[in-house]
Each structure stands twice: as structure tokens, then as C-alpha cells.
């Protein structure tokens, strides 16, 4: 039957089949156009969401890069700082700088008498102002007895008010800044004693309970140490494993099993690696909690499958003719792999590694399990110092109720994204560089 139909179609005169083709052309082109439109709209939707994401993060976060400062006049009263006149560092460091700041504020607003009002007044400047003064005195004890105009960081509520995040028209009870405080701020503003400056604290300080004192340096250093550990372990191990599996291992049940398990490992939720790290590295080996070395080990476990799979794909893409060529003139297997196959596969391997690293950089869950979620003020100096990591820092700040932490969260996300984009760009550049060699 079908033969008959075929014959009919075949026996149709060329003219007739041309007519049929013409008739179906419009439909075919319409289909093609529809398909193309669908593709374009998918891309546009994706871009739209992406720009929405970036837009909201940037619009929320860009203000975090500025910080409000208040100028106060401080008299470094020798009576108050060093009643004994010893000028010893111990005495100086233990002195009451907070009182110094408070006195300055009282002098600036002498009309404030009530105790509760005074407390409100003290809230205008950050608690960090006292530390700032101490540092100045510690560095230069000659300051004692003199009077200076000093810019100190404003409290986060003042900062928010200045940035317009606190609505003056709301009922007084609903806002964190009371009418009285707002009037003081306005007064200071008129005197030119309030200013917005670039927020260097954000990049140089560790975490803090006070938003205006909180920075990401600690988290960045923690992330860098963690990633260094991860890179140092996962790149050689991953590449070696891939090389062995792809070039040397015989194909048998065992290697099949290993291959399947590596693929499975890549799909294991990252928190499971965290639990594993907790149990093995901290529980069994007794390593300290919250340290980058444990974080690096855990992230190594998580990144290894990615690197192995990417490296194997890179090795597979090296044409077998190169291997044959090398073997054919009597190169040993090792020589073949290291002289010819590896150099060809390296760009792909590096790309895979950097993508794995980027993944590790953004990973939170396993780090939570091994305690890198702790509140750590000090900036870690080596891989054994307790620290946190950028995504964990973001997670912590996102949890904080203060409005000022919300913008710092976004700012931290921007920093993280900047790192990710840099790494991906590096991956692309490396690949291009290696591929262009020939």
C-alpha cells in the first residue's frame, strides 16, 4: 500500500510537486519565524529577570558605599583620660573615651538636660567613635590636653535618615529616629557638621553588631583562604583523577562504578558535604570549628566531581589522532599524556576548575555546618583563624533587622558578584590564551 502511495508521489510531474512545495513554503517559513520569535522571547525574558535582579541589588546596595560622618569637637581632657599622669599604654587604653565623646556631644547641645534625652543624643554618633579616639590617643599621646575637631561615624539611624530611608512623615512612634533627634541632625547639618563620605570601613573592617562599623574584609579574607585551600587540593587531585580514569584506567566494572559515583557525587546536595565535613574533619580528626582549612576541605569534596567531570570532558575532546601519533613513534603512555594530551586539555580543565571555584565561592550550606557562620569580628590572618565567608556573611546580614544591614547585604552581594564575574572572565581569558597558541 505504502509503495503505491510512494509511487504516486514520485510519479507526480515535476510541475505538480513544485506547486506542492510552493504551497507548503509559506507554512514552513511561518513555523520557522514562530520558532525564532519564541527563542528570542526566551532570551529576552532571561535578560529581563537578570536585569531585575541586578537592578534591585544595585539600587538597594549602592548607598552602602557611602557613610555619614559627624564632626565633633573633642577636648582630650587629661583629667579624664589619665588622672595619674603616667601616660602608660595600659592606662591610656583603659581610659573612658566614651565619656569623652558624650561630653563633646553635651557641649554641642547644652540645652539637653533630661537623662533620657541625653541618651538619645549619645545615640547620634556610632559607638565606634570611642574606639576611634582611643586609637588616636594611643598613636599620639601628645594629643592629651588639646582640643580637636574630629569626624566620627554617625550612628546607622542617622545614616539611614541622611540617605532618606527613614520617613520623617511617619508617626513618631513608628520610626527609629525621634523628632528630637531629627531636629538635632538638622541643626548639625546647618552647621555643616554632617557629611557623607566614601565608606572605607565597609572594606577594611570585620563584622560588627553596629552596621556602621561592619565590613566585609573578614568575610573576603575567609573566602580567599577557603578558596586557596580548595584550589590547592581540588585542582591536582581532580586533574590526576581525571587523567587516570580517562587515560590509564582499564574499562571494567570497578571504573564504571567509580564513574557513576563521581557523577552522583556532583548531584549530592552541598549540605551533605557539610555534614560529612563536620563528622570527619571536626568530629573525627578534631580540627577546630569555623576555620578556612576545614571549609576548604569540605568545598574540595564538593568541587572535585565538577573538576573531574570537566577535566574528563576536556581530555575526551582531545582528538585520538594525537595520542596515536605519539604512540606511533614510540612515546610511552606517560609521555603521550603529559607531552600532548594534557597541554591540549588544559584550557578546558582550567575552565572547569574556575567554574568549580566560582561554585565553591558561592556555597553557603556546607560552611554553615562546620561553623563558619559564627559572628567573628577579627579579620583572619591565616587558614587556621576562625572566619566566615562572603556568602555566609550575606546570609548573616540578611537576617539582621537593622535597615542599614539590608543595604550592606546588597553591597556584599555586589562584591561577591564582582568576584564571580572576575573569575569567569579569567576563565574565558585563560582559555582564549591557551587556544590561540596554535
Amino acid at each position: 500500500m505504502s509503495n503505491k502511495i510512494d509511487n504516486e508521489v514520485l510519479s507526480a510531474s515535476p510541475n505538480k510537486s513544485m506547486q506542492r512545495v510552493q504551497a507548503s513554503l509559506a507554512r514552513r517559513y511561518a513555523k520557522e519565524r514562530r520558532f525564532r520569535r519564541m527563542g528570542i522571547s526566551a532570551v529576552i525574558t532571561g535578560l529581563l529577570f537578570l536585569s531585575l535582579l541586578f537592578g534591585s541589588i544595585i539600587s538597594n546596595g549602592y548607598t552602602a558605599f557611602w557613610q555619614t560622618y559627624i564632626q565633633i569637637e573633642v577636648h582630650f581632657d587629661a583629667e579624664m583620660l589619665d588622672p595619674q599622669g603616667q601616660r602608660s599604654p595600659e592606662a591610656l587604653s583603659a581610659a573612658n573615651y566614651g565619656g569623652l565623646v558624650k561630653r563633646s556631644l553635651r557641649q554641642m547641645f547644652p540645652q539637653v538636660k533630661k537623662r533620657s534625652d541625653k541618651r538619645k543624643l549619645y545615640h547620634l554618633v556610632s559607638s565606634g567613635a570611642a574606639f576611634q579616639l582611643r586609637e588616636m590617643v594611643m598613636n599620639n599621646p601628645q594629643l592629651i590636653g588639646s582640643t580637636a575637631l574630629i569626624w566620627v561615624a554617625a550612628d546607622d539611624d542617622v545614616d539611614m535618615l541622611m540617605k532618606g530611608h527613614i520617613n520623617r512623615h511617619k508617626p513618631e512612634a513608628d520610626r527609629r529616629m525621634k523628632d528630637q533627634q531629627i531636629s538635632w541632625v538638622d541643626e548639625l547639618l546647618q552647621q555643616g557638621r554632617i557629611e557623607q563620605r566614601f565608606n572605607t570601613t565597609f572594606f577594611t573592617a570585620g563584622d560588627s553588631r553596629e552596621p556602621e562599623l561592619a565590613g566585609i574584609r573578614g568575610a573576603v579574607m575567609g573566602s580567599i583562604f577557603t578558596l586557596l585551600i580548595t584550589l590547592a587540593l581540588s585542582l591536582p587531585i581532580g586533574v590526576a583523577a581525571a587523567l587516570y580514569l580517562e587515560e590509564f584506567a582499564p574499562t571494567n566494572r570497578l571504573t564504571d562504578l567509580i564513574e557513576v559515583n563521581i557523577n552522583n557525587l556532583a548531584a549530592v546536595p552541598s549540605i551533605v558535604f557539610g555534614l560529612l565535613g563536620l563528622a570527619v574533619f571536626i568530629g573525627f580528626f578534631g580540627m577546630p570549628r569555623s576555620v578556612p582549612i576545614v571549609g576548604g576541605l569540605v568545598l574540595t569534596l564538593m568541587t572535585l566531581p565538577t573538576i573531574i567531570i570537566a577535566s574528563r570532558a576536556a581530555l575526551k575532546s582531545v582528538p585520538p589522532s594525537i595520542r596515536e601519533a605519539a604512540l606511533g613513534i614510540g612515546a610511552s603512555r606517560m609521555q603521550t599524556v603529559f607531552h600532548h594530551v594534557l597541554p591540549q586539555a588544559l584550557p578546558g580543565m582550567l575552565t572547569g576548575t574556575i567554574i568549580g571555584m566560582a561554585q565553591a565561592l558561592g556555597e553557603t550550606a556546607p560552611l554553615l555546618m562546620i561553623g563558619m557562620v559564627a559572628f567573628i569580628v577579627d579579620i583572619p590572618g591565616n587558614v587556621m583563624d576562625p572566619s566566615t565567608a562572603l556568602p555566609v556573611q550575606i546570609y548573616l546580614w540578611a537576617d539582621s533587622p537593622e535597615r542599614a544591614f539590608a543595604e550592606r547585604t546588597s553591597a556584599a552581594i555586589m562584591v561577591l558578584l564582582a568576584f564571580l564575574i572576575t573569575m569567569n572572565t579569567l576563565a574565558v581569558l585563560l582559555r582564549k590564551k591557551f587556544e590561540r597558541r596554535w
Binding site: 582528538p319 594525537i322 604512540l327 606511533g328 612515546a331
Partner: protein
């Protein structure tokens, strides 16, 4: 119709040979023609090759003479390339491949446990179907073999080897001014000659060529054929080719493979003018299938 007058009585038997499995133990598949030569470079005795359970080569016995070009022809999947790759143990890289029988190079069994494949492959070089220069410079391509085998100790010795190899491959004049440029930038025919230069740089005795011209245009092919003609004064060349004209042009002896059997071997002139086996005749006159 007096078909029978055409062939001797053995010609009616090849039908039995087509089923390899049934013929393993039988003597039906005697190769037609003289498989031995005087003072051979390589002797293959009853070579069987299996890929897993599938037999790819069945009881092939063949001598390869000194300074001769021997061509292997046959339809696709007839085992000629497999057999060629047995001669320098390139099949070792395939896990499922099993070989029995013996292959001697200058009287030494190359499948002996004591035989190291690395020096073997230096003795029996190989040129592949697709030109496959390393993604390195022309100089490095040729110098690589001598370097890994430690054939030279000084740079100037290496330079001499590179120049003479390129010279013998007929490529020196074309590339002497750009030795540091990548080998992959050459034309297909030049790349293949570079591969030949790379092979002869390690000083082999036998050169295996697996369809060396199938990716080349006729002019490049002619240059390779001319090269083969020159090289066979120094080397033994075993060439697998799909082009019967090429086999006729370059070789002194020709072997015809069919479904893993060596059907016929003989002087090239005899094979192409008066093959004795019906399968050979059908293949070379284009009556296959």
C-alpha cells in the same frame, strides 16, 4: 557458460570462508599465492585477532620482505587495518583486543612478554589516515621522536636529524624557512609528509601506512606515492589502501583481505592482471556485493 574453466578448483570454496566462525578449524581458507619470501623482515604466523568475542583476523600467515612495499587491499571491515596495527602493537591500546599467533620482527616475536612496545614502535613506525601533526612547530614535530628516544645529545645533532628527515620526506625545501611555525598550518599533503618525516626521524625499519592518502587531493597523493617509491629502498613499507590503483602503482606485492581472511597474496602485477581467487577478482574488478 563455462564458468568453471575460469578458475581452478579451489575457487569454488571461498564461500565457506565467508563465515569465519565455521572455518576457524578448517583448512578451507588457505591463502592463495605464496605467503613467504626469502629473507623476510617480518613473519606473521597464524595470527588471530579478536575484539571481545568477535574475530577480526583469522589465521593470517604472511611474510613481509625487506625493502618491499606490500599493499593490503580489501573491502571495509576486512581486517586489513587491524592486521596493520598488529604489526607495531597499536592494538594494545584497545582493551578488548586479543591476539594469538606470532609476529616476528627480524626473528624476534614482538608479542613476547619481554618485548617492550616503546622500542618496537620506534622500529616499526606508523603513518595514519588523517594527517595528525602535533600542535607544535614543524621542527618540534620531527624532533620529538629523536628527543624522547634520546637519539641525540646535542642540539646540532638534532638539527641534522630534523633536516635529513624532512629532506627524505621531500618537505625540506618547502618548510626550511618556517621551521618554527606550527605544523598544523601546513596543507594536508605537507602535513602527511611531515608525519612521514616524523616517523623516519626515529630511524624505523618498517613503516606502516594506514590509508595515508585518503584525505588528500590527487597532487598531494602523487607526491606521497613518489615518496613511498623513494623510501622503499631504505625501508620496508606496509600500506593499507582503498585505492586499487594506488596499490597497483606503489607496491611490489599485494595482499587481499576479505572478512578477516587473507584470501590472496602475490606479485602486484599478477594480482591486478590475473588474480587467482574469485573473491580477489570480484573485488578488483568492481563486482563486489
Amino acid at each position: 557458460m563455462q564458468t568453471n574453466t575460469l578458475y581452478n578448483s579451489s575457487a569454488t570454496q571461498p564461500d565457506n570462508c565467508i563465515n569465519i566462525q565455521s572455518s576457524i578449524a578448517s583448512d578451507d581458507c588457505h591463502t592463495v599465492g605464496n605467503t613467504s619470501v626469502k629473507n623476510p623482515r617480518m613473519n606473521c604466523r597464524n595470527v588471530d585477532v579478536f575484539y571481545a568475542d568477535k574475530q577480526a583476523i583469522n589465521q593470517v600467515t604472511l611474510d613481509i620482505g625487506r625493502n618491499e612495499v606490500i599493499a593490503m587491499i580489501g573491502p571495509s571491515g576486512c581486517g586489513k587495518s587491524t592486521f596493520l596495527r598488529c604489526l607495531n602493537r597499536m592494538n594494545d591500546t584497545i582493551d578488548s583486543c586479543r591476539i594469538s599467533g606470532e609476529i616476528l620482527l627480524d626473528g624476534q616475536n614482538i608479542y613476547d612478554k619481554r618485548q617492550d612496545v616503546v622500542p618496537l614502535r620506534a622500529q616499526v613506525g606508523m603513518v595514519f589516515q588523517k594527517p595528525n601533526p602535533f600542535p607544535k612547530s614543524i621542527y618540534e614535530n620531527v624532533a620529538y621522536g629523536p628527543r624522547i628516544h634520546g637519539l641525540t645529545s646535542t642540539k646540532s645533532d638534532l638539527d641534522i636529524i630534523v633536516e635529513s628527515s624532512l629532506n627524505r620526506a621531500g618537505l625540506w625545501d618547502e618548510v626550511k624557512d618556517r621551521l618554527n611555525q606550527p605544523g598544523t598550518g601546513l596543507s594536508g599533503g605537507q602535513q602527511q609528509r611531515l608525519c612521514i618525516a616524523r616517523t623516519i626521524a626515529v630511524g624505523p625499519e618498517v613503516i606502516l601506512m594506514d590509508e595515508p592518502c585518503s584525505a588528500l587531493d590527487p597532487i598531494a597523493t602523487a607526491k606521497i606515492e613518489e615518496l613511498i617509491d623513494e623510501l622503499h629502498e631504505e625501508y620496508t613499507i606496509v600500506i593499507v589502501t582503498h585505492s586499487m590503483q594506488q596499490a597497483a602503482r606503489v607496491s611490489q606485492r599485494t595482499a587481499y583481505f576479505h572478512l578477516g581472511n587473507l584470501i590472496e597474496v602475490g606479485e602486484t602485477n599478477q594480482i591486478f592482471s590475473n588474480p587467482r581467487h574469485k573473491l580477489t577478482e570480484d573485488y578488483i574488478t568492481g563486482r563486489f556485493g
